[in-house]
């Protein structure tokens, strides 16, 4: 490194036309920041973050989803009929797709945030004038993008096992609505988990003891109607069940509960978690202390 590069006599480049020069003796002030640029940059960075390691963040979960389908689908296809007229494999595909959406949306916001907290580079997002809403929205939207990317991947690959039943999608709008809401809800939950956790260990506990059981027991692999009454009641207390059930309704126009009930439950859960996450961000809980 040469100190020559620092000579003060070096001619200063002309400032960009939009730079305000307040006159001699005063520092050059950056131009008025453009609205949305901060938010868009953070969203872009969050998407780029997982995209740069797409093998780990997209390809691997897609493979996991396909493996579930191969194992459970092949073993149980001839033995189980969850919905009348729907093969078990066809039944399983929406469940696995939704499970992948949920788990990956959660993984994205939670691991991104905790990595930034632990490595300390969260400071780069905290020093700029990003609003609480921008911060929240960028993390959640990136989680939605990752969740949907993995979901699409799982769906595209598993489609091959039961193409006719799945392509005859009965109500695509419901499919889209529940995929979006599911990714959003888990993105928000991931954000909360990332905020509350200070160690990878704590985050792993969230993932292993809350998200995994809740998604597994949400009727991904079975219709809750096949469960004993007690466990049916327990399942109905799990908001993830409504996501899977509503999503599946979009494919087969059959579900354990009405999609409108599912929609109401999911929207309520999303509103409650959003309020909680936003409040944490606004108060700087475990982020600005």
């Amino acid at each position: 490194m040469s100190a020559e590069t620092l000579k003060d006599t070096r001619p200063r480049p002309q400032p960009a036309p939009d730079v305000v020069s307040p006159g001699p003796g005063r520092p050059t002030i950056a131009p008025q920041a453009q609205s949305w640029v901060g938010f868009r940059t953070l969203l872009y960075k969050e998407v780029l973050r997982f995209w740069k390691v797409a093998f780990q963040t997209i390809a691997a979960p897609v493979l996991t989803g396909v493996l579930y389908l191969l194992v459970f689908g092949q073993v149980l296809d001839k033995h189980v009929e969850a919905f009348p007229g729907v093969s078990y494999i066809a039944f399983l595909v929406p469940g696995l797709t939704m499970m992948s959406v949920l788990q990956n949306a959660f993984a994205n916001s939670s691991s991104s945030l905790i990595q930034s907290k632990i490595t300390g580079n969260l400071v780069f997002m905290l020093l700029p004038p990003l609003s609480n809403a921008e911060f929240f929205a960028a993390y959640v939207l990136a989680a939605i993008v990752r969740g949907l990317a993995v979901g699409l991947g799982v769906f595209a690959v598993t489609l091959w096992f039961a193409p006719s039943a799945l392509l005859a999608m009965q109500a695509p709008l419901w499919v889209l609505v529940f995929a979006l809401l599911g990714a959003a809800l888990l993105g928000v939950l991931g954000l909360i988990a990332g905020i509350v956790s200070d160690k990878f260990d704590q985050l792993a506990a969230f993932q292993s003891f809350i998200v995994m059981p809740a998604t597994f027991l949400a009727g991904v692999f079975y219709s809750v109607h096949s469960l004993p009454t007690l466990w049916q009641a327990v399942s109905h207390a799990n908001p993830f069940f409504y996501l899977v059930d509503g999503f599946r309704y979009g494919f087969f126009a059959q579900a354990d509960v009405s999609p409108w009930v599912s929609l109401a439950v999911v929207l309520t859960a999303l509103a409650v978690t959003t309020a909680a996450a936003y409040r944490m961000i606004a108060r700087g809980t475990r982020i600005r202390n």
């Binding site: 590069t5 480049p13 003796g25 950056a30 008025q32 640029v37 960075k45 740069k52 390691v53 700087g284």
Partner: protein, 329 residues
């Protein structure tokens, strides 16, 4: 009156078990090169964190260019560039990506002209497309400086920017920061290198245990330490007549605090009369380190006072040598 570059009013920060800041009021004027000194745990970084919005004060207010850091946080943060103490980086990105992202967070697009200038000034141009992981510690530190400057903040805070950094980089960095100061940027610096503060800062605040124990121009702080310090090796007892002048005794090494050349002569006379054999005699002026040690030594209570510590002579850690070796500029 122009708003202060940074103004804190009675800032208190309490954690469950400690009080990190205990009513800190400071005013840094625009265009100043201001030093914030204090021992580890004095509250320097906490104070910076509150000004930067990285931590919330328990009570009190902080403003950057007149913008309250919580009520008007967008304007306050836009006016401020902070180089954090920790060597943090995002391993997913290259140097240029890092700087572009940081510009974007501040709402700036097409900032490449300024980014190139920063890279050039910090001798990072050759590393622009290198991943952050592959950089040495000194390089990462320079990227942190560049990140703090992407939005051309009028107020720049550097928290221990030269900790663990080699001499060459230190010089490079200071030349650049001085230039920014000449161009009108306000600089606030925390450092453990007192020589740096003495050389660079026009005004200095010293923190101890969350309180401001001194706040004055660097010159006035040093002027508060009139007199000289004489140190030597002494095998036997110190003559009783000199006991009152003793600043420090560490084994055979004795340091006296004296008012001037006359007292040096007298002291030498006393020693000769007592038949004491002295060796390795050093006579020197006090420097900022003496002020620092006096004001922050544990023998002091945390009472706030403005400096006139010269006569006190109770700093236990006064150094045996009056002239510390300086890094040549």
């Amino acid at each position: 009156m122009n708003p202060a570059a940074i103004e804190t009013t009675n800032v208190v920060k309490r954690y469950p078990r400690t009080t990190a800041l205990d009513g800190v009021s400071l005013r840094v004027e625009q265009g100043e090169f201001f030093g914030l000194l204090g021992p580890n745990g004095a509250g320097k970084t906490t104070l910076i964190s509150i000004v930067a919005g990285l931590a919330r004060a328990t009570s009190g207010t902080a403003c950057v260019l007149g913008h309250d850091v919580t009520a008007d946080y967008r304007a306050a943060r836009r006016a401020l560039g902070v180089v954090p103490q920790e060597l943090v980086f995002d391993p997913f990105f290259t140097v240029r990506e890092t700087l572009r992202l940081q510009s974007g967070y501040f709402g700036l697009r097409d900032n490449d002209g300024w980014i190139d200038e920063l890279l050039d000034n910090l001798a990072l141009t050759a590393k622009a497309e290198t991943n952050m992981r592959a950089l040495s510690g000194g390089m990462k530190r320079r990227v942190l400086v560049a990140q703090a400057l992407v939005h051309r903040p009028p107020v720049i805070v550097l928290d221990e920017p030269t900790a663990g950094v080699d001499v060459e980089l230190r010089q490079t960095l200071w030349r650049f920061i001085r230039r920014l100061n000449r161009e009108g940027h306000t600089i606030v610096l925390t450092t453990h290198y007192l020589e740096e503060a003495q050389e660079l800062c026009s005004r200095i605040a010293m923190l101890k245990a969350g309180r401001v124990v001194a706040l004055d121009s660097t010159r006035a702080l040093l002027a508060g330490l009139e007199g000289v310090r004489m140190s030597f090796r002494l095998a036997g007892e110190l003559p009783a007549a000199l006991a009152g002048k003793l600043a420090e005794r560490d084994g055979v090494r004795v340091a006296l605090r004296l008012s001037g050349a006359e007292e040096v002569e007298c002291a030498l006379g006393e020693l000769r009369m007592a038949g004491a054999r002295i060796e390795d005699l050093e006579v020197g002026h006090a420097d900022l380190e003496d002020v620092f040690l006096q004001l922050t030594s544990d023998r002091r209570t945390g009472e706030s006072f403005l400096p006139s510590p010269a006569s006190a002579g109770e700093g236990p850690g006064v150094r045996a040598s009056g002239h510390p070796t300086r890094q040549t500029a």
